[in-house]
Amino acid sequence: MGEGWPVMGTVLVVGTTFGVVARQSGLQPLEIIAMSLLVFAGASQFAMVQLFSQATPAPIVIVSVFFINLRHLLMATSLRPQVGRLPLAGRLFAAFFLTDESFAMATGHFRRGGRSLAYYLTFAIALFVLWNLATIIGIVVGGAIGDPRRFGVDFAITATFIGIVVLAIRRPADVVIAIVAGLVAGALALAGASTIAVITAGAVAPLIAVFVRR
């Protein structure tokens, strides 16, 4: 479990950043806490803050979050054989805490020959607790900072997204997909179609992957 410390440190920093940015965007503390408690997905929560700030209708927010989280289907499918030992209620409980980080740590554990589901559950739930504590710290800090634009804090979400994309690049096609998605969404927003910009660009750009051979 000791190898989890760097991940926990990152979750603490990103969770605090989320609290700060969400508070700065004008969301109420209770709304921000509910997002971390109920949604518990970093990229989605940052995306929600940005979509809220553009007064995006709720159905579009929900569909955008669903698309961002479709990757969970792949991760959960990959963990399915290991959780098969649990009864249905246990599997439904374990599923709530599935994140990129807990998936990565659990996969590493199982690849090394580990069999213990307690490893996944302990780590995944620890991240949930940490994420929510960090959110509250961020809300307190965010309420104390003045105009966010003065310090460039409003750019923190965008910088976080860019970092996530850069770290997720696995092959050249990923670079092309990311650039196409960004440019199409930016062009649509400039053209006045900001409500559908993200979802359209996000759904169209991955078609490139369908036609590119590895």
Partner: protein, 99 residues
Amino acid sequence: MIWIAIVGSALATYLTRSLPFAVTLGGRLPPAATRYLEALPVAIIAALVGPAVVAPEGALTHGAEPVAAALVVAAVAWRRSLLAGVIAGVVAVALIRMA
């Protein structure tokens, strides 16, 4: 409106986490569908970046955001650290806007 979006997003997120744990899928997805699903997260997140860099607050950028975005890419690629990128981007945007 915000609460509907929060509860709806929570349900949508839980659905993606729990579906494969709840049911046993027979067979595999076609390779094209797998490739599409694998590319989807990066594309969505990149699509979120586009408007924020090109058209912050709905109008064409004055230049601070694209320059800072390039610095973030460089910082993250170099340090392999999200935090390094966020610090580089926030500091760059604050300095350029001040200039």
